[in-house]
Structures are given as C-alpha cells and as structure tokens.
C-alpha cells in the first residue's frame, strides 16, 4: 500500500481500478519541402479541420456539461487564427522551407515555453492549451486518430500526466470514477470538468508509477491517492463512501416530496437555470420545473448571434429534461451594461436605465424573432412558457405580443409546428409594472416577480455599487408592499404569481412570501431541498398573519427583526 498526496481538486471518494491514459504518441520528422504553396495549403486545411472539430466540441460541451466549460474551445479557436500562432507557423514554412508538422511543433514549443516562464499559475497553465491545439493540428497533418481511451472497458480511475480540455470532454462520461493527474494546478481544466461531472479529482500528484488495473482509492477532499490499499483501508473508505451516499440520499428523497404546508396548501418550488447541466442538476434536487431559464449565456459568449436552430436545439434539450413540468424561458435580458459581442451596442450614460432586455429586442427584430421562433418550436408537446423581461408599460407589452404573433405567423408560413396556446407571462421587476399590475393581469398568463431588480429600481439603489448595495434588500417595506399589490392583482384575475429572485430561497423571506400568497418559488437548484423542508413545516394561515403584520412595519430593520423572531 502506498499513499501519495496531491492537490485536492474535487471532493468525494472513488474506489476502483486504474486506467492509465496516454495521449497517442507520434514522432515528428523535420523535412525540407520544395513545394511551399502545397505545404501552406496542407497547413490551411489542417487549421480549417481543427476549427470545425473545436466548434463541434464547443457545442457538445455546452450541451452536455455547460456553457462555461465550453468557453475554452472558443479560446482555442482564437488561437488558431492568432497572428502569433498561425502567421508564425506560415512564416516558418515559407522562410525555412520547413514541413508543416515541424513548423507547428516548433512554434508550439516556443509559445509553450513563453507561457511556462510566467510566474503566475493560471497563465502558466495556458501552455497546456497551446499544446492541446497544436496536438490536434499534428494529428490532422499526420492523419492519425487520437484513441487514448479506447482501451477503457470498465469504470475506472483515470491516471494521466495531464489532461487537456478536449481529452476530458471526449471521454465517455459514465466510465469515469475519478481523475488524477501528475501535473496541473487547481485552476486546470481537469478540475473544472471534474466538478461539472461531479467526480473526485486530484491534480499535481508528481510522477506516479501505476499500472492498468492497480486497485486505487481516491480521496478527493484530502487530495490523497492510495495505491493497492489493504483490505482494512478499503473497508474504511467503503464505509465513508456509504455514509456520504446515505446523507445525500436523505436530502434527495426529501427533495422530491411536494412542498405542502401543515394546513394542506401546496406551493410550487422550481429552479432558476442557465444551461442544460443546470437542468439535469435541478431535476435531481427536486425542482418541480423551471421558473426562470436565462438565455443570455448563449449570446454573451460568441462573436456571432446564435442561430435559430442552435437556440432551438438547446431549448428543446432542456424541455426534454422536464417533459411535462413547466419550463419558463425568459427572452434575452442584455443591453446597457452587458456587452453583446455579436451586436455593437452604443455606450450609455446610465445603462441600468437604458436600452436593456425587451427594449433592445424590440429595437432589433433580427435578434428577437429567431429567439421567439426557437422558443415556440421547442414548445411542441412540452410545457414551455415564454416570459418577457423588463416590461415597463402596457404599450411595451403589446409590442412584445405583436412580435410574438409575427413569429407565430412566420412559423405557420414555414409549416413548422409550435404550441399555439403557449402561455406568455411577464416579469415584474420595475415599479411601474408593479403599480399597474391590475391592468396587466387580465392580459398575461402569469407574473414572475424579479425581486432583485424590483428592489434596485424601487429604492434607486445600484446593487453593484458597494457603497449603497446594503440598502438593496427586498424586505424593504416599499418592496414587500409592491409584492403584495402584484399578488392581489393577479389573484383577482385568477392568474398565478412566481418570484425568481434570490428572495425566493431566503429562509427569512419564505414565510412572508407564503403569507402574501405567492404561488411559485423559483431559486437556484441547490437551495430547493432546504426551502421545501421549510415550507412543509409552515402553516399558511399563520404565515398570512405574519405577512399582515410585516406590511404594517415602517422600516427594513423592523421587518427583518420581526421575521427573525418568528423563524
């Protein structure tokens, strides 16, 4: 038995056989070429091929793992087009009459050395990215396929010198028990991917001698790798593994139960999500649907607008996760302070009061129509609903509805199916919308209160400004009175009200919101089990009394104090 310590990269315990992963090896011969244009064409073809591969990897990663993890492949694509990479290689081919393989190898090595000379861990680790891209080019040029994992026939703990982002993405997801690397830091992609796959990982273990099928224990939280453990150690770790599993199981089994109060009133507890990975996580944590799907990330991370099909595929994949559970998709909420790489926005003096969200979409049909069409197409046989953000007046609501009708008409003309009875609701995040809730209510299918923005705009507090951010509390009397007004107006017209700000998952606010009559609590998925447990212990009628009293209190401190005393 041997114990090696590395850098803990992701917690959890794995027990299983080793699989030693080695990237396909190859040798590069330096040759002098006579036909330089031909060599440049070969290189260009390799660049184009790798660019296509990276694009596909990016799409696959965004779908399977998450948009954040997919970003690195966009950066790799930028490497391919970068003058210090591409131009430098071309110059080497032309000036030194060098074959493309040797030129790629030389530039990759010199760039890698420049990164490795940096004294900052994060930037030094980018050498790995340069090598990853270069290796892909070399595979193309040499016509070899990378098949380092084809020998993996059973679930195993992967041991590698280092893993590149593309390695970890192309690995089969169900065969991996843990990831262990000899080099790498806590900022390497191995770590990011291990977290998203939720498997233990250790990096920076130093040189390790392990054979395939050696028995291993990975204690991710402690950064400990145990090679060929004795039976007592295995037993000890199996117990710990079971203990962790039971704890998680308890939370999960509770999470699936509905949130019904002690006096028999059931409310909906749903998730705020931003990716397919979030969707899968949310289901596992007991989400009864989605109260808010943010669509921004699709737009913020790429230089060109995502196509209608690209959007449809993602929305549909998420809708498939939730089947008949409600999925509320919010149309694009960017503009003002959020730059959109694909559309040049004019700088604004006051971005929070500027051309944001629905205002930007109404002004740019080329942005809005494909998204509306994509959402509508995803609604076939699924419980998809549309939510329009940042509505400040009835006129804006009507303009947005007109845009939606246009999208429906164009789909009909194109003979593409959609759910014609799709529910359409609006965010209540501006005081003007809250004040006019009784006029909006007959026209909408539902309201969803965006408590973060509603607080910021009601109190004129920029929540990103640290000098005043402490004033932005949704328990401010003005905000809770607006929330009461919105819920009453909606209920008078038989419409449901959700709330999708941080407030919905705040234990202090939950009894108040229940008492005010909120129908749907939408929050980050990890908060769901706890929120449901709390709701199950509450009584609706007691909470109504509590809410009535809160509405009479004059200050934030008084509301907070009263809610704390009654927790």
């Amino acid at each position: 038995m041997e114990i090696i310590k590395g850098i803990p990269a992701n917690g959890g315990i794995a027990i299983g056989p080793a699989f030693v992963y080695e990237a396909t090896s190859f040798t590069i011969t330096r040759q002098t070429v006579s036909d330089i244009p031909h060599e440049l064409t070969r290189f260009k073809a390799a660049i184009d091929g790798v660019d296509d591969d990276l694009m596909a990897l990016k799409t696959k990663t965004a779908r399977d793992i998450g948009a954040g993890e997919a970003e690195i492949f966009e950066v790799h694509r930028m490497f391919l087009a970068d003058p210090s990479f591409k131009d430098a290689i071309e110059a080497k081919i032309s000036k030194e009459q060098l074959n493309a393989e040797a030129a790629v190898d030389a530039i990759s090595k010199s760039l890698g050395q420049q990164f490795q000379a940096l004294d900052d861990d994060y930037f030094r680790a980018r050498a790995n990215d340069v090598h990853d891209v270069s290796r892909k080019l070399l595979y193309r040029l040499l016509n070899i396929s990378n098949n380092g994992l084809t020998g993996l026939s059973q679930a195993a703990i992967i041991i590698a010198n280092d893993l590149t982002p593309s390695d970890t993405v192309t690995f089969p997801r169900d065969g991996l028990l843990a990831l262990c690397t000899e080099i790498g830091s806590a900022t390497s992609h191995t770590v990011i991917l291990a977290r998203s796959l939720n498997i233990p990982a250790i990096v920076g273990l130093g040189a390790i001698t392990i054979k395939n099928d050696d028995m291993l224990i990975v204690d991710g939280a402690a950064g400990k790798l145990i090679i060929n453990p004795d039976s007592a150690t295995i037993e000890q770790y199996q117990k710990e593994q079971q203990r962790q599993a039971v704890k998680q199981q308890e939370a999960l089994s509770q999470a699936a139960k509905p949130a019904t109060t002690v006096d028999g009133h059931q409310v909906e507890v749903v998730a705020n999500i931003g990716s397919l990975a979030d969707a899968q996580q949310a289901i596992g944590l007991g989400a009864e649907g989605v109260g808010l799907l943010r669509t921004e990330f699709l737009f913020l991370e790429q230089a060109t607008l995502p196509s209608e099909d690209e959007q449809y595929n993602l929305y549909r994949a998420i809708a498939d996760v939730f089947q008949q559970l409600p999925l509320i998709i919010r149309t694009l909420d960017v503009g003002g302070d959020k730059a959109l790489p694909s559309i040049k926005l004019a700088p604004e003096q006051n971005p929070f009061l500027g051309q944001r969200a629905i205002r930007l979409c109404l002004a740019n049909p080329t942005l809005f129509q494909p998204q509306l069409r994509a959402i509508l197409r995803a609604s076939v046989d699924r419980n998809v609903k549309i939510m329009l953000p940042f509505i400040s007046s009835l006129k804006e609501w009507q303009q947005a509805k007109t845009a939606l009708e246009q999208a429906q008409a164009s789909l009909t003309a194109d003979q593409l199916p959609f759910n014609p009875d799709i529910e359409v609701g609006m965010m209540i995040e501006l005081p003007s919308a809250a004040v006019l809730a009784d006029l909006f209510a007959p026209q909408v299918d539902f309201f969803s209160i965006g408590s973060n923005d509603l607080t910021q705009y009601t109190l004129a507090v920029d929540r990103t400004n640290e000098r005043v951010a402490h004033l932005a509390d949704p328990l401010q009397p003005a905000v809770i009175r607006l929330i009461r007004q919105v819920i009453e107006a909606a209920h008078q017209h038989g419409k449901r009200v959700g709330l999708c700000g941080e407030m919905a998952g705040n234990p202090l606010a939950i009894p108040l919101l229940l008492g005010l009559g909120l129908d749907e609590f939408s929050m980050a998925a990890p908060a769901i089990p706890q929120a449901k447990a709390q709701l199950r212990k509450l009584s609706r009628s007691d909470s109504q009394h509590l809410a009535q009293h809160c509405l009479t209190l004059p200050t934030l401190e008084a509301v907070q104090g009263y809610l704390k005393d009654n927790l």
């Binding site: 690195i72 950066v75 930028m78 970068d82 900052d120 991370e301 230089a303 302070d337 959020k338 700088p347």
Partner: protein, 90 residues
C-alpha cells in the same frame, strides 16, 4: 493616437474568458491597438492577439496601458476600457 492607463479589478485578471471577450471587442476596430502590462513591465503587444494578451499575464490589480492609433481610436479605447471597468459583466 489615444491612450489610457487602467487598473484591472476582475478577480482573475484577464484570464481566458475576459481575454477572449476583450480580443473580440478589439478586433471590431480598424485602429491598431496595443496593450502593455505596466505592473509586469511588458512590451506593448497586439491587443487583437489572444496569445499576446494571455502572455502579458494580467492579474487582479495590475495596471495596463492601452494605445490605439487610427480613425476609430477614441471609440476603441472607450469600449475596451469600459469592458474592463465593468468587469466583463461578471
């Protein structure tokens, strides 16, 4: 020629995602734009190159100097410095 000296407050500095947003924004301008990491004393490099930007290893609290030359230099410096000041909307 327009120039501006600015301190990066993003907690990871110009790491991959902010760097790619920065370079993409820089590429939309005609002007020649350079970036130098004053804290590390690096030579000015091409702000339209992601590799150059990553090699200047801009970490939190580093001060950089942007220089733009060309017809849209003012707009370029304005857009790029806003991107940094607004912390890349994170």
């Amino acid at each position: 020629m327009v120039e501006k000296t600015i301190t990066v407050t993003h907690k990871l500095g110009l790491h991959a995602r902010p760097a790619s947003l920065f370079v993409k924004a820089a590429q939309t301008f005609q002007s020649k734009i350079s970036i130098a990491n004053l804290t590390r004393n690096t030579q000015p490099g091409d702000a339209k190159s992601i590799l150059t930007l990553l090699q200047s290893a801009v970490a939190q609290e580093h001060t950089i100097r942007l220089v733009a030359e060309g017809e849209d230099a003012d707009e370029a410096i304005d857009t790029l410095s806003k991107l940094i000041e607004n912390n890349f909307e994170e």
